[in-house]
Symmetry: C2
Subunit: 202 residues, 2 copies
DNA sequence: AACAATTACAACTACCTAGTTGGAAACTGG
DNA sequence: CCAGTTTCCAACTAGGTAGTTGTAATTGTT
């Protein structure tokens, strides 16, 4: 049997993604990750360093692949609303990215510099896609993106909130999706309108 | 020295709130909570049962006091926007409630029935305040509330997202606050307009 | 003052956890 | 075929971890 280092690494990363996604950094167990990957846990320390570094690798991989799977296409308010809808759908099917994002925010909140530094490659992608609203300032566009991510990512992480506020009728997810898309459209359209008539709003 | 049971309970709850807020359920340490409260940890098991039950007590206390401190006052789109602004400000000063809410969502996500059951008293408060938009259906009003909570609570939990998307200029929090308030106002106003002219939108 | 119930706590248990080590098996270049 | 290197893993270490227990101090009640 030939040593397939890359396969071993990939198996570990996959198992680690699942474990960190469901249990977070503090709740994850190195032994469980190794067992699920069918690999000796000592490999983790050789390939990734330690638990924290493995968590970093998982986050970067998950967010990078998310940005490839759900790209921002086109420009204008409709494009932003469409992006929000696709992001919502993606997270509904697979909540890995939003869960990891919130784990990172909660467990690493103090070291604020952390994520942006590690996600430098993503930052460039954000910067290029942030121009999807012509005429809108960089800061306003960034705010709109934060709004989109907040709405789409919070939904799968806070099911209890949804149950408490909106009940649990069938087709609930569709309704929530529509509300998110409409809210994003309204916010984006308002920014676009302001861009055309800068003095119209106080 | 007289035994002051209530004081001991309060000290434990306060220390537990701080510990769970910063470290979550899996990351919190019973020994640390007891030490910070200056109380023997055995008291925790007598008064609250176990770690999970203590976490429950902390969440219920925190969310209940939040709903008292930041009430929904008045009705109409302006009232909802004002509520969002006050909620944002409160969470900016003290991120305890949003952090606990997300910890609960992440670490207890599978047992969806959990929070609504334990927050039955809060549910009634939600139901009464949900009528703050006259003419709007219960479900649409609930969706608006979810939007408000998502936007206001995600902000202090995801500082890295803000740094990545919007940089770190002075007065950044003010700008984000304005964006949230405006987005909420637009969403609420759209619902109100629909209520007056039901057939106007597809 | 004597009794039962409650509150307090130090010490303890049984188990788990991240990280290490020493050596065996498999690959690589010559 | 044969050193030298890399991959692999079982067993180990050292330090936690939630939860329990035995006992002493305090309290209200009679």
């Amino acid at each position: 049997m030939a040593w397939d280092t890359e396969r071993t690494k990939a198996l570990l990363l996959q198992a680690a993604t699942s474990e960190f996604c469901t249990r977070g950094l503090a709740g994850a167990r190195i032994d469980r990750i190794a067992a699920e990957a069918g690999v000796n846990k000592e490999r983790i320390y050789q390939y990734f360093g330690n638990k924290n570094a493995l968590f970093d690798a998982v986050i970067v991989a998950a967010l990078s692949s998310l940005m490839d799977e759900v790209p921002i296409e086109g420009s204008g308010p409709e494009a932003m609303a469409d992006y929000a809808g696709r992001l919502f759908d993606h997270h509904q099917k697979d909540a890995t990215a939003p869960r990891l994002l919130f784990w990172e925010g909660l467990e690493r909140g103090t070291e604020v510099v952390g994520l942006p530094k590690r996600m430098a490659n993503c930052a460039s992608k954000v910067n290029s896609t942030i121009a999807a609203l012509p005429g809108v300032s960089r800061e306003d566009a960034g705010d709109l993106l934060i709004t989109i991510v907040s709405l789409c990512d919070a939904a799968p992480v806070l099911p209890a909130l949804d149950g408490l506020m909106a009940g649990a009728e069938p087709g609930r997810a569709e309704r929530r999706r529509a509300a998110v898309v409409r809210t994003v459209y309204l916010a984006a359209a308002a920014l676009a309108a302001e861009a055309k008539a800068p003095a119209a709003t106080a």
